[in-house]
Symmetry: C2
Subunit: 418 residues, 2 copies
C-alpha cells in the first residue's frame, strides 16, 4: 500500500529531523540524531513521509522525484526576532560607535531608533514593502523560511499601522512566512518625552487596541532609559487582555527584572537577556518562557559580555536564536552567521545552535506545532545544505552554503530551478 505524494526529495546524504515531543527542547547536548541516505515525501505542502530512503520510497508513489544531490537536509530556519519593515540606513552611527560613542549616547543625541522613526513616519506602506523585500530574499538565500517581524519604528498609530500592513503584504507576497508583532512600545517618541505617562496611556488606550487585528504578538522594550518594569507590566497586561500573545525585550543592557516579568506574565519568549542573572534564569525555566538570544547584537555593539547561554541550558531554559535584523544594532539577515556567533560567543555547541534556530525558534513564535522539525504532518519547509555533515554548518561563516530551499514543498531558492 503506497500513499500518493506530490514530491519525493531523495539522495539526501544526511537528514536531521529534530523530531520530538510537542514542546521546546531543553538542556545541553553535543549531538543530534540524523538519518543517513534519507528521503522526504510531500503532499499539499506537508510532509507525508520522512526517514531512510528505502522506507520512504516504499511507502509513497510520488508525482515527481527531485535529487538533493547528496546534500544535508535540515528544517528551514525560523528567525524569531526581526525588525524587518524599515527604510533608510544608519552607517554614520557605525563610525561614531567605533570612535567610542555608546548606543545610549547615540540615542540621546537623536540617533538610534529615533533616526529610523523619522524615516519610517515619512514612508508609505509600499515603500516599506519595497525596502523589506530584498531583506526577505537574503533571509531565504541563507535558509530562513519563517520569520517574526516587528513594528516599532512608527511610534504613532498610523505609522505603526503601515509597518504592520507592510508585514501582512510581505507575508502574502513572499515565500518567507511572517508572524507579526506590535512593538509600538519600542521607544518614547520625541513628542512624548515630556509626558511618558501620556505615551503609555496612548499605547494601552489607542495603539494596542486599534492594531490588535494586525499583529499576533505584542512586545515591549523593557530597558533602562526606555520602559521600566512597571510600565512594561501595564502595557503587556493590557495587550494580553486584547488577545495578543506576549514577548519582551529584556535585560539587554542592564538587568532590570525583565526576565522575571516575562515569566510572571506567561510571555511566549523573552529576548536579548545579555545581563539576566540567576533569578531571571530560574524564573524563565520555571515558566517555560523561550529565551531568544541575539548574539549578533552584542557582536555588532562590541559588548564584551554575552547572554549566559550555558547557564540557561543547564537550568533547563529553552533557548532559541534570532538575527535581531535591524538598521542600527544588528544588520544581518543570516541565521547561519548567528549560529557561528552563538557557538563562538555563547559557547553553544553546533547541536544546541541548530535546535535553537529551528524547533525552539518555532516555539518562540508559537509555531512549534507545524514547523521547526521534519516530521509527518508538519510543513515541508526544508533546506538542502552544501556541507559534509550537519555539525560543519556553523564552522563556515560569512557566506551562504544553501543549495536549495523548499517552502511548503516548492523550490523557492534559487529561483528558476525545477
Amino acid at each position: 500500500m503506497s500513499a500518493p505524494a506530490d514530491l519525493l526529495l531523495t539522495d539526501i546524504a544526511e537528514l536531521v529531523p529534530l523530531a520530538g515531543p510537542p514542546a521546546p527542547w531543553r538542556g545541553p547536548r553535543r549531538t543530534l540524531e540524523c538519518i543517513s541516505d534519507a528521503a522526504v515525501a510531500v503532499r499539499d505542502g506537508r510532509i507525508v513521509a520522512v526517514g531512510p530512503r528505502a522506507d520512504v520510497e516504499a511507502s509513497v508513489r510520488a508525482a515527481r522525484t527531485v535529487s538533493a544531490g547528496g546534500g544535508v537536509v535540515l528544517p528551514g530556519f525560523v528567525d524569531p526576532h526581526t525588525h524587518l519593515p524599515w527604510v533608510g540606513s544608519r552607517e554614520a552611527e557605525f563610525l561614531l560607535r567605533l570612535e567610542g560613542k555608546s548606543y545610549a549616547d547615540i540615542a540621546r543625541a537623536g540617533g538610534g531608533i529615533r533616526a529610523t522613526t523619522r524615516a519610517v513616519r515619512a514612508a508609505t506602506t509600499a515603500q516599506l514593502v519595497a525596502a523589506a523585500r530584498p531583506r526577505l530574499d537574503r533571509m531565504l538565500a541563507h535558509g530562513t523560511t519563517t520569520a517574526e517581524a516587528k513594528s516599532g519604528y512608527g511610534l504613532e498609530l498610523e505609522a505603526e499601522r503601515r509597518q504592520l500592513e507592510a508585514i501582512r503584504v510581505l507575508d502574502e507576497q513572499h515565500p518567507v512566512d511572517l508572524v507579526a508583532t506590535n512593538l509600538a512600545a519600542h521607544e518614547i517618541p520625541d513628542e512624548w518625552r515630556q509626558d511618558r505617562a501620556g505615551w503609555v496611556e496612548t499605547l494601552v488606550e489607542t495603539i494596542l487596541p486599534q492594531l490588535a487585528g494586525l499583529a499576533e504578538f505584542c512586545d515591549v522594550f523593557c530597558e533602562e532609559h526606555v520602559f521600566g518594569v512597571e510600565e512594561s507590566r501595564r502595557i503587556l497586561t493590557r495587550a494580553r487582555e486584547l488577545g495578543y500573545r506576549l514577548k519582551l525585550h529584556a535585560d539587554e543592557l542592564v538587568a532590570t527584572g525583565g526576565a522575571e516579568l516575562a515569566a510572571e506574565l506567561g510571555a511566549v519568549s523573552a529576548d536579548h537577556l545579555a545581563k539576566t542573572g540567576p533569578a531571571g534564569i530560574a524564573a524563565l525555566a520555571e515558566a517555560g518562557v523561550v529565551a531568544v538570544l541575539l548574539p549578533g547584537t552584542s557582536f555588532y555593539l562590541r559588548h564584551r559580555e554575552h547572554a549566559p547561554a550555558r547557564a540557561m541550558l543547564e537550568a533547563g531554559v529553552p533557548v532559541a536564536l534570532a538575527t535581531d535584523l535591524n538598521p542600527g544594532s544588528c544588520l544581518t539577515e543570516s541565521m547561519p552567521m548567528i549560529l557561528t556567533l552563538a557557538c563562538l560567543q555563547l559557547e553553544l555547541t553546533p547541536a544546541e545552535a541548530i535546535v535553537a534556530a529551528t524547533i525552539n525558534a518555532a516555539h518562540a513564535i508559537g509555531r512549534g506545532h507545524d514547523r521547526g522539525s521534519l516530521e509527518v504532518g508538519k510543513l515541508a519547509d526544508l533546506v538542502v545544505w552544501d556541507v559534509p555533515t550537519w555539525s560543519y554548518l556553523p564552522t563556515h561563516f560569512g557566506v551562504s552554503l544553501v543549495r536549495t530551499v523548499f517552502k511548503r514543498g516548492e523550490v523557492v531558492y534559487p529561483r528558476g530551478l525545477p
Copy 2:
C-alpha cells in the same frame, strides 16, 4: 576626439577610485574620495577612462554600454592571504575548541594543520582543484577578484608540488586571479619531528629550489612551537636567493620577533601580527612592509586580544586585510565579513578597511601597479555593490551585497548576465 572602448559602465551612483601615488597607503583616515554619477570605460580588459559620467561619455565611443543600476562601484577586493588548496574538513576541532581546547592543544594531539596534511597528501591535483573551485566561486560572489593562495599542507616535495599545481590550474580556469606562495615551511611534519634541522635542510636544499618555478612568494610560519626566528631567517634568506619574494606569518600567538625579521629581510608583507609590539611596529613602518591583518582568525579562535591596528596606522605601517581562508582557524571566503570584523575588532574605520582590502591588499602581493584601484591603465576589476553609499558596506554583515562583478571588463558574477 573620442577613443574607442569595448565597454562603458554607466549609471554608477558613487565610484570610489582609491587613486593615488604608486605605493601602499599609510595613516588613519575617516573618509574616501568618491565620484558621484560616475562612469568607467574599458578596452582590452583595462580602464581607459574613469570619472564623472559626462566626462567619460564625452571621451570614449563604446561598443557596448551597461548600466550599473545606480549601484556603488569599488575596485574588486584583493585577498592577500589564503590557504586555498585543501581537501577535507575539521568540524570536530571546532567543537573541541568550544569545550576549551586551545589551537596548540589540538595541534599537539595530531589535529590542526597535520590533520589536513594527511588529507592533502592522499589527494590528487584534480581533487585539490575540485575542492577549491567552489571556494573561488564564493570569493567572487563576495567581491574578490584576485587572491593569494598558499601551499603548506603537503609538507613533502610532491604534495607541495600538487598544491602549487592546483593553484596554477585554478588561476587558468577561474576568473579570480591567483598569486602563488610556497608555504612548505608551514609546520614540522610528523616524520621530521625528531629531526627539525633535517626538515629545514630539506626545505632549503630540495623543496624551495625544486618548486621555485611554481610560486612567486615564499612564506614561513614563524611562531612558538613551529619555526623560530633563526630558522625562519635561514629559510627566507635561501628563498630570496632563489628568486622568491618574501612573506612571513609573524607574531600570531606570541611575539617572537617576526615583524622585525620581516623588516630586516625586506619582506613584501608580514601577516597576522596579533601580538606585535612597538618595536615590531616601528620596524614594519621603517621598512615599508605591508601588515596583513587577519581579524577573522582571532574571531574564529576566540582570542580576546587583536592586532594593534590603530597603533600601526598611527605609526605609518601600511595595513592590509585578508581572510586567512583555511579549514581550521578561519573558514570564510568573504572579504566583506573581514571588513566588518576589522571595524568591530580592530577599530578600523570603514574607509581604512576599504583601503586595506583593495589598494593595500594589492601591494601586499606585489600587484599594486596593476590593480587595487580604479585608474586609467589598471585592470578593469570592479564590483557593483547594492548599497546606499560606500561607508555602508562593512555595516551589513554575513551576507553578500554584490550586484555584479567585472573581471578584466567582463561580467563574471552573477553568471548568465549579458
